[in-house]
Amino acid sequence: MFAEARIVAAKDLRLEWRSRVTTTQVVPFAVLTLVLFAFAIDPSRGVLGRVAPGLFWVAVLLSTTLAANRAHAVETDAGTRDMLRLSGLEPRAVFAGKAAAIVVQLLGLEIVLAAGTVVLYNVQLATPALLLSAALPATVALGAAGATYGALAASVRVRETLLPLLLLPVLAPVLIAATSATEAAIDSTPEAGWGWAGLLVVLALLYAGAGAGIYGVLLEDQ
């Protein structure tokens, strides 16, 4: 299964690399979100620094909807869904490949956004290990849920508007846990953050397991 997932992930990443959608649309969108918040919130009262973790993850969350939509739009637009079903690839492998490709894109995005957050919001990171331990499972959870709900919305004509409606409520626990863990990583209170990081691992496993379990049905249903 892993070999097949690697084939799918490599194809999706090659598609993104050649189309440049992530670098020219998703990343600028996320950075713009951060910049607009920086303008909207009064920095003199220290509010900006306090809400920085939440704004960071909201920007990642919104970008996830774009990446998830794109991951399945390429199949719909290219008319390749039938060929994908006929390819003999295991649906679980297709799911894992698509989720992995989304995760790689989101990790790249998070690096850019983290740099932007430090510059725009003037935050200092006290416990980088905690942030990494939270960000990785959070991103896997986002990628897994994005791949699942992207497939669910793929066959619907209004998928661009439907997908955020379906996806964002499901990702609310990830937003809360990731924000809390990031706050702890910034505030030098790591003991408060490790529990949230553990919860993110559970959420990542839950979303990945559920996605792998139902993706075949979603692929057949399209």
Partner: protein, 242 residues
């Protein structure tokens, strides 16, 4: 020897519409069957059902010895389907597309290179993004991805459309070679003169049922391998869907 494809009283619904309304059709291995009929007759649905892409809601369908009613995924790796949709990733090159589908099917990379050379989309064209190809070149690239998989059952929807004369000849040659190698071919076409020249059997579908089944006119060699459908003129019992 069991037929490569056997429809018996097969009904397939698209939404609530019976696109196949009780099809009976046996296709022996090695046959090249032209599906003809007006738009909306059920030709594409029959092809997609044969690939396990459309469920059969009543009746039976066996393909390459597998019951597709109970397990529609069972034959997919052995079937090649080229629909009227694009089927290729615009942002990938021809080689990128063929390589992906070849690897996905678990076929050796050499098969992809051979298929691209055979369809004449190798060399300079191999590194061109599909979005920049002409319609005919795209069709050739799609067929290359199909040929590389070496399917046992070929299911083609309008395979000649968009191709120039040389491309059409190439398609005909591909179909003949596949059948000669033991593969079975079902294809739908509205270009009847061209299609009848390569088919060994013509099956006409109207309203989701087979209404005629005979060797193509002007192709006497086809009569030798022709095997008619079991009940070619049977009235369909169109299911009432509420």
């Amino acid at each position: 020897m069991a037929p490569a494809v056997r429809f018996h009283q097969a009904v397939a619904l698209l939404g609530r519409f019976p696109a196949l309304a009780g099809v009976d059709l046996d296709v022996a291995a090695g046959q090249i069957v032209l599906l003809r009929g007006p738009n909306g007759a059920g030709k594409t649905t029959l092809l997609r059902a044969s690939a396990g892409l459309v469920p059969i809601t009543s009746g039976s369908l066996e393909v390459l010895g597998h019951d597709l009613v109970t397990d529609p995924r069972s034959v997919r790796r052995r079937v090649g389907y080229a629909g009227t949709g694009a089927g290729l990733y615009d942002d990938l090159t021809v080689a990128g597309n063929v390589t992906f589908w070849t690897r996905a099917a678990g076929v050796a990379a050499e098969a992809g290179a051979e298929a691209m050379a055979h369809l004449e989309v190798d060399g300079r064209l191999a590194d061109v993004a599909v979005a920049q190809l002409s319609t005919g070149q795209r069709k050739r690239a799609l067929l290359a991805a199909l040929v590389a998989r070496r399917p046992e059952l070929w299911l083609l929807d309008e395979p000649h459309a968009g191709l120039d004369e040389a491309g059409r000849d190439l398609v005909d040659e591909l179909l003949r070679r596949a059948a000669a190698a033991g593969a079975t071919v079902l294809f739908a076409s509205h270009e009847l003169d061209r299609a009848a020249g390569v088919a060994t059997r013509e099956v006409t579908i109207v309203g989701g049922i087979v209404v005629d089944d005979h060797p193509p006119e002007g192709n006497p060699a086809a009569a030798a391998v022709h095997r008619p459908a079991k009940t070619p003129y049977r009235s369909a019992e169109v299911p009432v869907v509420r």
